[in-house]
């Protein structure tokens, strides 16, 4: 469903992503791992339109998306969360849920901001993550873990086909991690496709059916979790000569 073809991006002299090719199968949970600075987030930012690639191409559902605006990519059906959770701090939790839009036309632009059916759907999703009672609170008043959940739930409002999660378990307590894993698994059963960047190896190995490993902006391995765990190149990238361990 997503095809990344020989993508490159350099910042000054540093090649953050260097000729990387990878794909995401429809209905899968694909993991994207690699040591710090291996280019995962840069790749994410190119897929979602925040960075323009220097070369290479990205196609979603067989249509190129590499020249689109982030909002247009969102309209095509790709939703994302951020490594450091980003919410609209001074808006209420409910408003945060309603902002994401998949389609905007002139007619809807000037229609009611929070519609009844949207509110209903938002409350259902808040119920799913157990935060219904906070719907009227300002987003900044929630705890860090709760904010992560809200960001995740808000993405679902626009009903994306492919969801990109950037470190969903980063800085979240173990109970919350279980909850997030449960949610992702459930949604995957219902047909949503995921691409997950994560350092928590247990989560990646349990959750993902397919894993892509990056190092220095290049793909060094790809395959099933069991195979990746024993891949000598991967072990070297993580444990080898450098000191940045992965998990």
């Amino acid at each position: 469903m997503l095809e990344v073809n020989r993508l490159s991006k350099a910042f000054g002299g540093i090649k953050a992503v260097d000729g990387c090719s990878m794909g995401v199968e429809r209905g899968s949970i694909t993991g994207l791992i690699g040591p710090n600075g291996s280019g995962k987030t840069t790749l994410f930012n190119m897929i979602t339109g925040f960075y323009k690639p220097d070369s290479g191409s990205i196609a979603f559902n067989h249509r190129p998306i590499d020249s689109l605006l982030p909002s247009q990519i969102c309209h095509r059906g790709i939703g994302r969360t951020f490594q450091i959770t980003r919410l609209f701090w001074k808006m209420t939790v409910l408003e945060n849920m309603v902002v994401p839009v998949r389609h905007t036309g002139w007619r809807t632009l000037f229609s009611q901001g929070v519609k009844k059916h949207e509110e209903q759907r938002a409350m259902e999703l808040l119920d799913l993550i157990g935060l219904t009672k906070y719907h009227d609170e300002e987003a900044r008043k929630l705890s860090f873990g709760q904010q992560k959940l809200v960001e995740f739930a808000a993405i679902l409002m626009s009903d994306p086909e492919l969801i990109l999660l950037d470190e969903p378990a980063g800085g979240v307590n173990p109970v919350m991690i279980e909850k997030i894993m449960g949610l992702v698994d459930d949604l995957n059963q219902k047909g949503k496709t995921f691409l997950v960047v994560e350092h928590n190896m247990r989560l990646v190995m349990e959750l993902c059916q397919h894993i892509v490993v990056l190092d220095h902006g290049q793909k060094i391995a790809e395959g099933k979790p069991a195979a990746i765990q024993n891949d000598p190149l991967v072990l070297e990238a993580y444990l080898g000569s450098t000191d940045h361990a992965g998990s």
């Binding site: 939703g79 902002v99 839009v101 009611q112």
Partner: protein, 329 residues
Amino acid sequence: MKRFLFSNRVWLVIALIILLVYPLVQHSQYYQHVMIMTMMAAVLASSWNILGGYAGYTSLGHAAFFGLGGYLVALAHNQLGWHPFISTWFLAIIVAGVALILGWISLRTQGSAFVVVTIAMVFIFRLVALNLSSITNGARGLTQPRPGWGGVQWSPEFIKVPFHYIMLILLCLTIFISWRIRQSKFGLGLIAIREDEGKAEAVGINTMLYKVLAFGFSAYFMAVAGGIYSYFFTYIDPQFIFDVFTGVTMVLIAILGGRGTLWGPVLGAFIMEPLGNWVIGTFGGTQIHLAVFGGILLAVMLFMPQGILPTLSDATKQRKKARLAKVQS
């Protein structure tokens, strides 16, 4: 909640009635004048607020659209005989169109860079007005005939009354549109842009389109006001109408009342304009009113950094919460 809303509506009706009968009971030319200028300040601050308050883009250059509206209306009146009370509504659409283009260019910048670009806008407009003297009459400015309707000039006693009502209509329209925007998907998107523009873009908001549209809307009302103003004074010149100080004043008024709220800019105008006039009236044509203005702003920044209205509404919410907690315990 219901009662709260109800009482709000009551206040609105009372305010409207007062404004409707004001020129009928208040015959003093001076106080009529102050009221017209106050309503105009509320229009300017409210329409600035659509971009500066909702979307969080501080423009100090909205006087450019105020002035352009004034010039277009004056020219159409002198050259084509179009009555300003009618033409200003249509000519302002042209100004909004110009604003869409300027917005599309200037809204690529953010923060302080955007502020500087908008200030430059005023100076560019002023330079054009000064140098395009075959059309604008340059530094000598444009004079319009004394206001009237259908060939009859209004008497000096009556002259402020029509201006009072047209300004009132404009004020109501501005507030209504500002309210509609705030309630709509468009308004929600603008606030999202203010809170986190990158995130807004990520969740599907075409931020550029939203910002440019907001720029156009806020320029429209600015231009209508400029058109009425140019007729009210019957004389405009580039120095006078393309004034950065006009742009700064409306921003300060909006901040004072509560930037980003619907009623904050209106409240700010109804405090600052009469007060400013009173100070000038009492202490004469000195610069004291500027000092007073600055002092008040400083006090608001220190004690109510969000502006008067948000601070008051926060306080009521807190009280309500406390009362609820008391009832529950």
